[in-house]
């Protein structure tokens, strides 16, 4: 018989696998790593299920697990990532296999701009603006203070705006 932890994980996977995958994918910019880390997130959630006290929603808790798993992985990959980003600083949308990840044309520009931002800016923008978490929930997921969330979000949005203006300028120029 499946235990209650497995039941929860199965249900949570059915409900949240898409949103967790997208979160990790936007952070790592690598769909294969995102798949592995999505699996790792739900496995960690199974293993440390007893630490979920229900103070927050299971969605918030899963996102904090996904964030920790991703940050740990990125820390370990830092030297490799440095060289990778040097040659491929943004997601090359053309390289995404269509049968695995699909991104609509209308969102490609903002997605690329987002992927070029600093990690700390990117994660706050994803959680607040894309996933719609509150400031309190975002602070809980990132394990930081609410004021840090507010200030990073402010700086991140300015950086994003700058990047989008720059990109649209480039596009105008190449037309």
């Amino acid at each position: 018989m499946a235990d209650y932890r497995e039941e929860d994980i199965h249900e949570w996977y059915n409900l949240y696998h898409q949103t967790i995958f997208k979160f990790i994918f936007m952070l790592t910019k690598d769909y294969q790593q995102a798949e592995d880390l999505t699996q790792e997130t739900f496995f960690k959630a199974y293993k440390y299920h007893h630490t979920f006290k229900g103070d927050s929603s299971e969605k918030t808790w899963l996102f904090s697990v996904a964030h920790n798993v991703t940050v740990d992985h990125m820390r370990k990959q830092k030297p490799i990532r440095f060289f990778k980003e040097l040659f491929q600083p943004q997601i090359d949308i053309k390289l995404l296999p269509e049968n695995v990840v699909q991104l609509k044309e209308s969102s490609k520009e903002i997605h690329e701009a987002l992927s070029a931002l600093k990690h700390s800016h990117r994660e706050v923008i994803i959680l607040r603006k894309i996933k719609g978490f509150s400031i309190t929930e975002t602070a809980e997921i990132l394990n930081c203070s609410e004021s840090k969330v507010k200030s990073t979000l402010h700086r991140g949005m300015l950086a994003l705006e700058k990047r989008l203006i720059k990109e649209s300028g480039l596009n105008e120029h190449t037309k």
């Binding site: 949103t19 699996q39 199974y46 929603s57 695995v100 903002i110 719609g132 705006e161």
Partner: protein, 251 residues
């Protein structure tokens, strides 16, 4: 453009990213299978550790013997799904060079989804594509089917299900009717073909409608898939399709 309207534009564009990006369901199912195996190994490992601690006072030979017995017993403890060995519900066929499970006539009798929904619902343009997967859990097998209905608008309606591990409609329904508000989603409880169902409709400009049906044995997930133009999906169409499900053949 003033600062506020610029901000609104960015906020809308960011919100849209969530819905414009999609991970293939097939790939997600593969990851789930890998996760299931990982969890199974972890269970065996942790059980073995517990038993090993208990038996450490006895001789090592006895401990190893016990571990073996427990591991074998564990394999049989999984509940079986809709398949029993006596009834051939599917056969393995080579399709595009790949061994693929295909439902037999007997197997089709247990499919809850309607094959002729296109005759009843105008927007559905043909028979559904039926994807079959067989999961081996220990020594038992379980069949899962996913139906993909084509629509005249170029998008698809996807339906799949998973086991209701709680065995209780009441308990499982809590997952779909949460006490806290869901960002950007309006949740409504409805009744389809006598079953409890939960309609999740987007309240923002972007997003798609999804319908979850909870029965004692299974949970059915219905939504729009593919790069759809009709952003909001069609709640009425999902309900109409769900009402054609034959839950009586569930087993």
């Amino acid at each position: 453009m003033n600062i506020q309207s610029e901000l609104d534009t960015y906020n809308r564009a960011l919100q849209k990213v969530e819905y414009d990006l999609e991970w293939s369901q097939e790939q997600a199912d593969l990851v789930w299978k890998k996760l299931e195996r990982q969890i199974y190994k972890e269970k065996v490992k942790s059980r073995a550790f517990k038993i090993f601690g208990y038996l450490s006072t006895i001789s090592i030979t006895f401990s190893l013997l016990f571990l073996l017995v427990i591991q074998l017993g564990n394999e049989d403890s999984f509940v079986s799904g809709m398949l029993s060995k006596e009834e051939k519900l599917y056969t393995m066929e080579v399709i595009d060079g790949k061994e693929t499970p295909v439902l037999t006539e007997k197997g089709m009798e247990y499919v809850v989804y309607p094959m002729d929904a296109h005759k009843e619902i105008n927007t559905i343009s043909g028979e559904p594509f039926l994807g079959v997967s067989v999961r081996k859990i220990g020594s038992k097998e379980q069949i899962f089917t996913q139906a993909i209905y084509p629509t005249s608008e170029g998008r698809f309606i996807s339906v799949h299900y998973s086991k209701n591990e709680t065995g209780s409609v009441e308990e499982m329904s809590r997952y779909f009717l949460p006490e806290y508000p869901l960002y950007g989603t309006k949740v409504t409880e409805i009744n389809v073909s006598g079953q409890r169902a939960f309609l999740h409709e987007p309240t923002t400009e972007y997003g798609t409608a999804a319908l979850y049906i909870v029965t004692k044995k299974y949970v059915y997930y219905m939504n729009n898939q593919g790069l759809i133009d009709k952003q909001q999906g069609d709640s009425g169409e999902l309900i109409e399709l769900a009402n054609l499900f034959n839950f009586e053949v569930e087993r």
